[in-house]
Symmetry: D2
Subunit: 278 residues, 4 copies
Amino acid sequence: MITEERSSSYKLAQRKAPHIDTFVPIQKEKLGENKILVIAGPCSVESKQQIKEIAHAVKEAGAVALRGGAFKPRTSPYSFQGFGAKALEWMAQAREETGLAIVSEIMDPNLVPMFDDYVDVLQIGSRNMQNFHLLKAVAQSKNPILLKRGMGNTLEEYLLAAEYLLLEGNTKVILCERGIRTFERHTRNTFDINAIPALKAQSHLPVLADPSHGTGKWQYVEAIARGAIAAGADGLLVEVHSDPDKALSDGEQSLTIPRFCSLMKQVKKIAKAVDRSV
Amino acid sequence: MITEERSSSYKLAQRKAPHIDTFVPIQKEKLGENKILVIAGPCSVESKQQIKEIAHAVKEAGAVALRGGAFKPRTSPYSFQGFGAKALEWMAQAREETGLAIVSEIMDPNLVPMFDDYVDVLQIGSRNMQNFHLLKAVAQSKNPILLKRGMGNTLEEYLLAAEYLLLEGNTKVILCERGIRTFERHTRNTFDINAIPALKAQSHLPVLADPSHGTGKWQYVEAIARGAIAAGADGLLVEVHSDPDKALSDGEQSLTIPRFCSLMKQVKKIAKAVDRSV
Amino acid sequence: MITEERSSSYKLAQRKAPHIDTFVPIQKEKLGENKILVIAGPCSVESKQQIKEIAHAVKEAGAVALRGGAFKPRTSPYSFQGFGAKALEWMAQAREETGLAIVSEIMDPNLVPMFDDYVDVLQIGSRNMQNFHLLKAVAQSKNPILLKRGMGNTLEEYLLAAEYLLLEGNTKVILCERGIRTFERHTRNTFDINAIPALKAQSHLPVLADPSHGTGKWQYVEAIARGAIAAGADGLLVEVHSDPDKALSDGEQSLTIPRFCSLMKQVKKIAKAVDRSV
Amino acid sequence: MITEERSSSYKLAQRKAPHIDTFVPIQKEKLGENKILVIAGPCSVESKQQIKEIAHAVKEAGAVALRGGAFKPRTSPYSFQGFGAKALEWMAQAREETGLAIVSEIMDPNLVPMFDDYVDVLQIGSRNMQNFHLLKAVAQSKNPILLKRGMGNTLEEYLLAAEYLLLEGNTKVILCERGIRTFERHTRNTFDINAIPALKAQSHLPVLADPSHGTGKWQYVEAIARGAIAAGADGLLVEVHSDPDKALSDGEQSLTIPRFCSLMKQVKKIAKAVDRSV
């Protein structure tokens, strides 16, 4: 990529050969292998009851992991900031009942041990992609790390951020395209579908797509989910809520449970068309 | 869309009901119906021999129309500017032999009659999307008009540009997402896949995808073509060249003929997965 | 600039030596010389009375030219499109009374002779910066050409567009930074002040600044006008209206006459600080 | 601003009245008052000798504070990461000798006490503008906080990030425009000069300009520094190096000492033109 001299900069993230890919374990599955993996759940964990209900529903529809925000990075300090440790506990209980892996975002570098107790995949959010102090701390986790692309960052910067994790010795790194900042105002972000073949060509790491943040409108999530899988994504990260109108955050881009079921059916067809399973 | 008061501004382009779509005739087919239509050919028409050879090849692979530049909008005045009227003639001859419809870009508002003699679809390029004088002139054609999205224009501005054509009485308008300008430098443009469901939701007009300009790299064209069809595009506009390394323009983003054949096979599978044919 | 091989592409627009600049005559002044020139007037010419009133006011405040839209490039076909030839006549009458040069935008390549009859500087608008057919036609004018930067175009593309004009033999080319498209939503455009030293370093052509379009808010116009002159701009293009609240277009970014007088006073101070006059 | 309901979100950062501004103490001066304050120094502190030499030079030229990177946020993990605590010590020694205030970037929330021992202003860098965990930790400092705008963040998000600091009780917050990400490739970033009047209009906090990152090219730094002061900035943050060609980082955008002296002279003239001193 990008420029020859620089690509040596991400020598650990860089693809070495056409078919040598890294697979990242998520429960009994491996992300990056033939099977498309879907991670779903609410933007924020809002109650024990809410997260259980959604967990059972997405499990039934075919998800392998449950996402849910416990510590929320909110643009305004007056917005709901998440239920914190309590929310992590509720998610761990949902795992007990459903067998879903748990994915949640970490913002405080001192909380890695707590996250390791409760979650299966530690997420580093878009706003922290170049928070190098956090990257180094989270890399100490024994668990896989889902590193989201910064909304204002190039692909080269993205792979160099992944390199920070790999260099610390954590090789279970998951990439995730979630939309970038552009002049277009009809959608919340512009989902950069080019990033999918580009990241797969430049790197051996598995690539997820987040059509919820990528569009900001639930009406477009299904179409972009289909497009991302067709373009080569290894999985999806989707916001699902049992009652989006009452969601404490991101209701506009959350799918209802029936809509998520519909998405799963369509994704299965696309997966088959590119010789993959769901 | 976009804002309620303004959406009334494109009252002709605006979708009125969920399943009332406009179909635009291209040869014996109708763009916007179930069948995915593919338009393919070189960036520039370079010789009678070249355009014939490519025409036969893309026809055989399943294309319904031949694209080729006769008058080229080049960033530099010192770059090759196209073979002009002669190139239009060569394309018309290729139509005789293959039955493919001919698509070519018009820049001079005075040339509408000449284009009507030779081509089947008049293309308005990205740089001229808001060239309102040209829009009004080209709308006088009896033929369909392929209006490409401006690389620096919002979807709202795009539909308002289409409105200029519709208001002049030409109802055979084709939209085409071809990538927008962003901070990302690894790809030539950022293909805005969100535009596909957004345009289909806001308007009844058919929507093409141009993965060649959308990425600027032939290596990513096939992935983005699959993604665009999966997301709901009605067809593709693809640059194909018999010898991209020697192309007079855009060689880096042109598919060879074998690669175009491979793309067609994959697009067929995706089309089937979304209940469409090719 | 930009890359060495490409800079040869704009060999006519390119700076050859540190102090060899092109001066473009506007009435008795020369744009690019020591004196800062200010062009002011309404977005749209709305009546004979309106344009005369504004002409006298901006003349008195120190402007050397009157800008006014006769043929308006409007995003929506339903917006006011300008009073056309009649507006050009009204402006020519305002010139008789005030001695101001007249600047107006041309969109139709066939109207060059008519514009040459009425105006002193032909403007090519932002949306037409890469309308190469128009560039070639307007270059045939005997008058200076004010070429605005495209809102989605790079500086390299901008200088190559200027090269089209120079190559046709019209050497009286004026550049004008007017803001670009970015993710920022608080202002209508992002005024790219970097463009001022960059264009002066790369090219010998004079450079104007348009703080009205560059911000979209009259509240910020004065500050950006000061900044542009301090950064090296040779002049300003400013929207002034006698009653912005009733303007047929762009009222939000138009200065009242008293505010324009205040701007002129401040610009004089800045001009002096950079060893220039107004 | 921005939208009425949201502006209430930054109720602490929000301007309450036209002339009620916050002044932030830096040594014996107050940023935001009439006098323009200049903070200058190298991107990275490279040795005791280097930082002393630059400190004396910028002091003599009129700077009130010394900037220098001790802990560097580098895109690549293989790039020079700064000399850490040792560099902070060297800067504190330079303060002893020159009386300059010390400004340095903090990335690790646990290092606030160490920074408080050595520096006078804690800088939060562009990449960490929405690192809310860091914001909350740094707000505990007794010192002023220089919060740089994120390169991909809107002005609204910027003021909401400042709100995080204010809400924790640290009222000595300094804003700094340093360029945003756009499609333009000739400059490293696009310096958003509109941000200066916009931030002054929306907020009572003082506003710095960083023309070094804003352009990425030392050739344009002086022009943008003049422009920023003319547009209303309260001060400058400028990269200065005694030998930019050998700088360990950002050499391309660093001024030599003689060029910094020239900049100071010009800034004085502009300051006077806007009725301020330096």
